[in-house]
Symmetry: C2
Subunit: 549 residues, 2 copies
């Protein structure tokens, strides 16, 4: 549809509005979106620049949508890349402050981070002591599935140490947790001696991934002592992600309790595994129906119908691409200043600071997350404290030698752009138009030719459309990878979901009812807290209306 004239797109969208909400419309749109790009298996990975068995099978490397630039002409492009320090300046927010996102609250990036930290995972060595973590930005520790690894861990050993593993009544199937007042949280990772608690170690060796950035915290400091023992190494990153981790921990334990009551003869293992089945499928439902629908600029809404992929040509083994892991770095969504518990704080204060969550409580924290507006995703809009993250992303794209922005447009069945003006787009607002003109001039100074623009800065040089928080190419690529890797989840497969008896075995009738009744993060929060009341918790700003802009 991207290549149709504007008036025809408008007409089609209006027609679509008439049938929105119908299952077949959602199914049709999902198929169209996924077919924008090549299906898997990808012939290329970050292991070798040529096709090799190791590359095709060693899933500790990322797949790639396009091969590493191999021709002499493309080689020449590499040498023409602007210096890293100049490229990163494209991302820095202007002194006048960040542009706000018209559609999203901060629940949107909070959910996005908790989601993607589960499967977009640059390899970090956990062998070294935690003050000298090393990274290999060609490799990944991903399981390549939406498996709630931030909650359950990436490996069977991590899952084991996170579980209570108790056959006692009321304990079966549950994850370890602690109660602070009336609130349930994940347990703390470190003991009073400043060491990882023995229960999270195997032969004296820590089993869980260390929280990223922990080397910035003095051992024994308050923030250090309040780090949670959780499945993901970024759950502790901010009180936002920690709140998300706490919410899912409570929901898992609530479900385990429910299952134990209904199936008293089940052992701890079966209660645990069945609660996990329910949690994963519930999470995927929210990914599609709350999160992707928030992202989508389409007039129709998507539903997580597992049937759509059973016979689809894109139902192929998941393998996260290096491009997917780059395009999901949405640092500019985060404002430099935000409100928390009635005061204005700096974004830097959030880092590894679970204290903010513990003092405020889970429901209050979510209400505050959703009361803040995201800033707009795009160049010239990243807060100062996140510029180093942008720099690492640009460098990672270069390390993995990804192709140009225009090459990816072609790969996604979009017309390549012909000018920098086309890339930054136009605005009816004169001040905004002046900013875009200046940005186009700066891009031209750095890249000379639109065909030289790198993938990562190019993605964010576009501005989001009127109805969604994402620039168009990012949106299409996110939706393609999300649908084609979420709906292929083995728990949604034909021989589980296509047979009512097997479906009940996998989730229990009670579990299916819970999944059915859950439509938002807020639904889960409401049943896992006592003080939410009727307060707003959502990804879409309350003052936003579709097509309002």
């Amino acid at each position: 549809m991207e290549n149709l004239p504007g008036w025809l797109q408008d007409l089609l969208l209006r027609l679509l509005t008439l049938v929105r909400g119908r299952q077949w419309v959602s199914d049709y749109l999902i198929n169209q979106i996924v077919k924008h790009g090549r299906n898997r298996p990808h012939p290329w990975t970050t292991k070798h620049d040529y096709i090799s068995w190791t590359g095709l099978t060693d899933r500790t490397y990322s797949a790639r949508l396009l091969p590493a630039m191999p021709t002499p002409a493309q080689e020449a492009l590499r040498s023409r890349r602007p210096p890293l320090d100049e490229t990163v300046k494209l991302f820095a927010a202007e002194p006048t402050g960040q542009r706000p996102c018209r559609k999203s609250t901060l629940l949107f990036p909070a959910f996005a981070q908790y989601l993607t930290d589960g499967f977009l995972r640059t390899q970090v060595s956990n062998d070294a002591p935690y003050d000298s973590l090393t990274e290999d930005r060609r490799r990944t520790t991903s399981n390549h599935d939406i498996d709630m690894s931030p909650l359950y861990g990436r490996t069977p050993d991590q899952t084991r140490v996170l579980r209570r593993m108790s056959e006692e009544a009321g304990q079966k199937g549950k994850l370890k947790s602690q109660w602070i007042g009336t609130e349930e949280y994940p347990p703390f990772l470190f003991g009073a001696d400043g060491k990882v608690k023995p229960e999270f170690c195997d032969n004296g060796r820590p089993v869980l991934d260390f929280p990223l950035g922990i080397n910035r915290l003095p051992t024994g400091s308050r923030q250090f002592n309040e780090l949670f023992a959780v499945g993901g190494d970024r759950v502790n990153a901010t009180p936002y992600t920690a709140a998300m981790g706490t919410l899912w921990l409570r929901e898992h334990n609530r479900l385990a309790g429910m299952l134990e009551r209904h199936y008293p003869d089940w052992d701890d293992e079966r209660v645990f595994e069945t609660a996990r089945n329910i949690v994963i499928v519930m999470f995927i439902k929210l990914v599609v129906e709350e999160y992707i629908n928030h992202i989508s600029s389409a007039a129709a809404s998507f539903s997580a119908n597992p049937r759509i992929c059973w016979s689809a040509g894109w139902n192929r083994p998941n393998w996260m691409t290096t491009e997917f892991s780059l395009l999901y770095r949405w640092h500019s969504l985060i404002p430099q200043k935000l409100r928390w518990a009635g005061r204005v704080i700096d974004g830097t204060e959030l880092s590894l600071n679970n204290g903010l969550l513990l003092e405020h409580g889970l429901a209050n924290s979510f209400v505050d997350v959703a009361a803040n507006h995201a800033s707009q995703l795009g160049l010239q809009n990243t807060a100062a404290f996140l510029l180093d993250a942008e720099k690492k992303s640009i460098a990672q794209a270069r390390t993995n030698n990804v192709a140009t922005y225009n090459a990816y447009r072609e790969a996604m069945s979009l017309t390549p752009l012909r000018s920098f003006a086309e890339l930054v787009g136009t605005s009816r607002n004169p001040a905004e138009q002046a900013r875009r003109d200046a940005l186009a001039a700066e891009l031209e100074r750095l890249y000379d030719d639109i065909n030289n623009v790198e993938f990562f800065p190019g993605l964010f040089a576009e501005s989001p459309g009127a109805n969604g928080p994402l620039p168009r190419l990012v949106m299409i690529m996110v939706a393609m990878d999300a649908f084609s890797q979420a709906l292929t989840n083995p728990l949604l497969s034909e021989h589980i979901h296509g047979d009512e008896q097997t479906r009940r075995l996998a989730f229990t009738p009670q579990g299916l009812e819970v999944i059915d009744a859950t439509n938002s993060i807020r639904d889960i929060l409401a049943r896992n807290s006592t003080d939410l009341g009727d307060r707003f918790v959502g990804m879409t700003r309350q003052d936003w209306r579709r097509n309002a802009a």
Copy 2:
């Protein structure tokens, strides 16, 4: 077709004969065969008797076509299983000797073993010293792909120690080998000190899987000293499999030499990986076009057309099932006595005895393998020295609680049998008919009801048909799993094989020519030996003609 009347089957087969060799006939038949059973992903594995995330993702457990027998009625069946020692007696060859297979030479089981040892792999712990190997018959060390792991190893570390890893001219991309006279063989695993050579160790710890059965050999004995360092733990099992391993080693090194001459600027890694790409695809071609066509009782022949699975509903991630690993145990094909180098030897002499190969040379050994006839696959036909292997298989099926023979017929869209007479079938030969009558009576004594017959003995209670070496249910299940897991190989995928330029990148034009010109094991042997002449090497007995029986 299985359920059609005999005269209609005959008519269809005759019609098929008219179009045999056409690509669409092969494609049609492959699709029909694969659709006998449920496609993947399987909801069930050997991890849990219920559906769990661990079961759906931990590929160190086997998948299962049918769930573990969970209902009370099925539970009752378990307790009615005959004692192991009585069940295994069903397999023992009669005192009058083994019945011969009308179709196959011993090259057939030799190839089958080398093939399946690569992906049907019961877990054996390699941590223990090699005199106390432990097994867990619920688990597997399979990569679930036809990846030539018997040649290259199962893990990156194993591959590394098997490679020369040299950038010297004439060495690039090659596997380690030794020359004995004019013949190239894999290197020996052990040094003069009776220890694994340091080059096959990592920090003093052996990296390769130990040859199975090694604990039967005294350290420093001739057989011990002549064990090869190879990728698979069963390549040393007999000189037959060792000859197969030697053949593929030579072919790999020959291809590496060819590639190095054509692409002198490539490094060791690229030469190695590209030679491996060619070897794997050549092997899969032989699996379908030499091996499956030998197995097949169809009048038409199959060709390894990668296109057939690109849009097929059965193109789903491979995962070997516990049933597949059981039904592939064809011990009765091996005669008690056989000819080697002009003398009659006992089957037991083959075990871990590479000396027979080294004395005889590769070409002579293959000629001798093909000069021996296999015995017939079926009950009452296993040589005494292999009865213990049958016993382990029956026990493994019970450990994994597989369903009954008739349940698998239903799962494969065949009519369940109603009597023991139907199971053993009829013969025009009165002596053979008498044997079958007695076998049916013994089966009835052990199982009482045809619906109680276990999967493993039931498979082999059938007799092979006139045109193939396998009983019918075995043949269908083998073909289903072979096609649906061979043609899904990532090296045969759409975006490699569907694009001529990418195909040339993956295999080189020279490699594609070699694959194209290779139609049999004999072709490979001819170019990797000097003394084959025009002697016969093939899986199908020279005195067998299709439909002759």
